[in-house]
């Protein structure tokens, strides 16, 4: 990228079931937090926040233009206020594009999700093709199961390797005060848990329902340097669509992630991702996704994801710790996963990640995904 975009402040709420809380309160808490950190407010003379980008599904939060009733909560009354209907990483992507285009100097990116008010699967299945896929009862879980089956058989990934992903996630989550699930699990516990959708077991899927919100403030290079002593720079970003029909792709490979990653790495000048990144936060909604996304992100060769997990190099203290926060498997709401990845990476690069801090982290990799069986990926590279 010719110019850099800086992250000047990040915030997140505690992720948990909050049935008694209004969706706006979550949004207020997170957005107010970043605004306090920077002392910025929405202004129309260019001295404050210029615009806001939100992410959140309409059908998830309520019927018909739900965000219309939430925009004012972040302070966007009569201001630029737009919304991405994808995973939160795409909202960060668009926020960065707004700054690169010069249309805004400072942007507030927010994400909110309240899974306790709706059955997540019901809504997810509405984004599937209505003529073929919904008719045979496919939803995000069952398409993930198909992908898991294909991936594990093609490359001989063992259930134990996948269980280790969950064990790692929950162990890491213990160091994260915002995480939802941080129970001590053994590989056996995971393998003995109820079957959710063969071969995915309950403990291998993202815990649901969880509520929460995230917020970030992005700024152009000049303003970011003024606003904070510890800016985190977005050096590369890209998204990529894959085929929707599962039969059109080999589910054991994730071509769109490979494309998105290579474009983002090219922008950031990264040639050997495994060596160059110090920490990564990737969105694994199911345990099989972590080794598969490793491969797509170029952290290891095709079919080598299982071995990388066995090697322990991606655990805390390893060469490239992946998901020190516990990641999505420790319970991040729908739509927020990718934005949460960026927030956590920013905390790591600022050295403010507390007990889950990776020492001396300089470059970080954030990843978000949306759609059935990882159709739409977004890769964001960060530097301090």
């Amino acid at each position: 990228m010719a110019r850099r975009v800086g992250i000047v402040a990040v915030a997140q709420t505690k992720f948990e079931e909050k049935p008694g809380v209004h969706i706006g309160e979550l949004l207020y808490q997170a957005s107010r937090d970043v605004m306090k950190q920077t002392g910025l407010e929405f202004k129309d003379d260019g001295t404050g926040i210029d615009c806001t980008v939100a992410s959140g599904y309409d059908m998830m939060s309520g019927p018909g233009g739900a965000y219309m009733f939430l925009g004012y909560i972040v302070g966007a009354w009569q201001r630029e206020d737009e919304r991405v209907i994808e995973d939160g990483s795409m909202a960060v992507y668009y926020g960065a594009a707004q700054i690169l285009s010069g249309h805004a100097d400072v942007a507030l990116v927010v994400g909110y999700s309240k899974e306790t008010q709706i059955d997540k699967n019901l809504i997810e299945c509405l984004s599937l093709d209505q003529i073929y896929q919904r008719r045979i009862g496919l939803d995000f879980v069952s398409s993930a199961a198909l992908q898991a089956m294909r991936y594990t058989t093609k490359y001989g990934i063992t259930p134990e390797q996948l269980a280790k992903v969950v064990v790692k996630a929950r162990k890491n989550a213990k160091n994260n005060p915002y995480a939802y699930c941080c129970d001590s699990l053994s590989v056996q516990d995971v393998l003995r848990s109820t079957m959710l959708c063969d071969p995915i077991r309950v403990q291998e899927a993202k815990p649901t329902p969880v509520d929460g919100a995230c917020a970030l403030i992005l700024a152009n290079e000049e303003k970011a340097k003024k606003l904070t002593k510890k800016p985190v720079w977005i050096t590369g970003v890209s998204s990529c669509y894959d085929h929707h029909e599962l039969g059109y792709r080999d589910l054991a490979d994730c071509d769109s992630l490979v494309t998105a990653a290579s474009k983002a790495y090219k922008m950031a000048g990264i040639t050997n991702p495994f060596k160059e990144f110090d920490v990564a936060e990737i969105s694994e909604h199911y345990s099989y996704q972590e080794p598969l996304w490793y491969e797509g992100l170029g952290l290891c060769g095709k079919g080598q994801g299982g071995k990388l997990i066995d090697s322990g190099k991606t655990q805390m203290g390893g060469e490239l710790p992946v998901n020190p926060s516990g990641g999505v498997l420790s319970g991040i709401p729908h739509c927020l996963a990718g934005m949460h990845s960026v927030v956590e990476c920013a905390l790591q690069l600022r050295g403010e990640a507390g007990d889950r801090q990776v020492k001396g982290a300089k470059k970080a990799l954030a990843h978000g995904v949306d759609g059935p069986a990882g159709q739409l990926h977004c890769v964001i590279t960060l530097e301090n």
Binding site: M1, A2, R3, C51, Y57, D58, M59, M60, G62, P63, G64, G65, Y67, M68, F69, L70, G71, Y72, A76, W77, Q78, R79, E80, D81, E82, R83, V84, I85, E86, M90, Y94, A96, A97, Q98, L100, S101, H103, E124, L126, S127, L128, D129, Q130, Q133, S238, S239, C240, Y241, D242, H243, H244, E245, Y248, S256, D370, G371, P372, Q375, L376, C378
Partner: protein
């Protein structure tokens, strides 16, 4: 603006109809995409970013971009979906502009659509645009919103039902000359005034129809635009202005951000006399009666005096004020795509390609807007030369 200067190099839209049972939603999008790519003399190979959008609850989907992207041939491209109630198309176009101006992409394709024949009433059933707890008990819809807005306008301005009918007739006269418009009814003031009353003073003919339609634009940064087309339409500026339902209609019946957005954008672009400096207008009026207030807010008429312009016959394609030469939203309304249709029509005017409904003379600048909810707006300013 310190990003790249950008231009619209290709525009496309479907012929808008109330029903398109012959095709599915993805095919509908593909029609507009094909038209836009052909207009830009490009193929899908040239495109590196796609931005999609529709007002999902009116179609009954959630995240339909996932299955529409492969159908328009955009697999392997970067992009995402935007949505924001009635201004969806406006936000889609604004996102496309930002993406092209960011320097990250060379050819950005924006697609918006709505196929309202497929989920008839889903919008009303879901209490579309209504807050689930507070206004859920009332049958809130654009009809009731505009009944209240127009009632208030009439009390404040002193205009009569006859003037409201004149506005509708003007829109119909324009629509009859637009080959893509949906409603071409041959209206007279009398016909409109005797039409079925929905909620006083709104009659059925005053409201926008339900439409199946799609629209697409191709946006490029300056260098690339100059290379691919002889008739680029330059995007001078745009501003998204949402008030987040912060004021209910009960609190202020005239609540709108259009005036604020226009004043801001005029200031940024150094426009002091919008009536003179802008030569064509494509403004999103969900009800024909709203056109009166919108004319005042964008600055072509004095506050609460716009109806006098209709009385004097000053509004029309060949008249002093070419307001909505395409026939506007009361003739054609595929909700999510409507703002993109406005941008498409404004671009056609600037290029001089609007055929039958072309405004005479050189169109140096055109203004297009999007409207949604209870006064949310996106304003676009397009121009002929840099």
């Amino acid at each position: 603006m310190n990003g790249e200067r950008i231009a619209i190099v290709g525009v496309g839209q479907t012929v808008h109809k109330s029903k398109r049972t012959d095709i599915n939603t993805a095919e509908l999008c593909a029609e507009a995409v094909e038209a836009a790519l052909a207009d830009a003399q490009m193929t899908m190979k040239d495109i590196d970013c796609v931005i999609l959008g529709s007002f999902e609850p009116a179609d009954g989907y959630s995240g339909p971009d996932k299955w529409i992207v492969p159908e328009i041939g955009a697999v392997g491209k970067a992009g995402f979906e935007m949505q924001n109630v009635g201004t969806t198309g406006g936000v889609v176009a604004a996102t496309g502009f930002n993406m092209a101006a960011s320097g990250l992409f060379q050819n950005v394709l924006c697609v918006a659509w709505q196929k309202m024949d497929e989920a008839a009433g889903a919008f009303g059933r879901g209490g579309g645009g209504a807050n689930e707890y507070w206004t859920g008990q009332f049958p809130m819809s654009p009809i009731t919103n505009f009944a209240r807005r127009t009632y208030d306008y009439m009390t404040r301005s002193g205009c009569t039902e006859e003037h409201l009918a004149m506005v509708r007739v003007k829109q119909d006269q324009c629509a009859q000359r637009n080959k893509n418009a949906q409603l071409k009814l041959g209206l007279t003031v009398e016909k409109v005034m005797n039409d079925f009353l929905l909620a006083w003073p709104i009659r059925r003919l005053h409201m926008c129809p339900t439409t199946a339609g799609s629209a697409a634009i191709v946006v490029c940064p300056e260098k690339r635009a100059k290379k691919v087309t002889k008739k680029p339409v330059w995007v001078e500026d745009w501003f998204t202005c949402h008030q987040g339902g912060a004021l209910t209609m009960a609190e202020d019946p005239q609540a709108s951000t259009l005036g604020y957005a226009c004043r801001k954008i005029y200031k940024r672009c150094g426009i002091t006399n919008p009536k003179k400096e802008i030569n064509a207008w494509e403004v999103y009026e969900p009800a024909s009666t709203a056109e009166l207030r919108w004319m005042e807010e964008v600055g072509v008429a004095e506050d609460y005096k716009a109806w006098k312009l209709f009385e004097q016959g000053k509004v029309g394609i060949e008249k002093e004020i070419p307001f909505n030469p395409s026939g506007g939203v009361t003739a054609t309304n595929p909700i999510g795509a409507t703002p993109v249709v406005r941008v498409v029509e404004a671009s056609l005017q600037i290029r001089g390609d609007a055929e039958e409904h072309q405004v005479p003379g050189t169109i140096n600048r055109a203004l297009a807007t999007a409207y949604g909810g209870q006064g949310e707006n996106v304003v676009f300013l397009l121009k002929k030369t840099l």
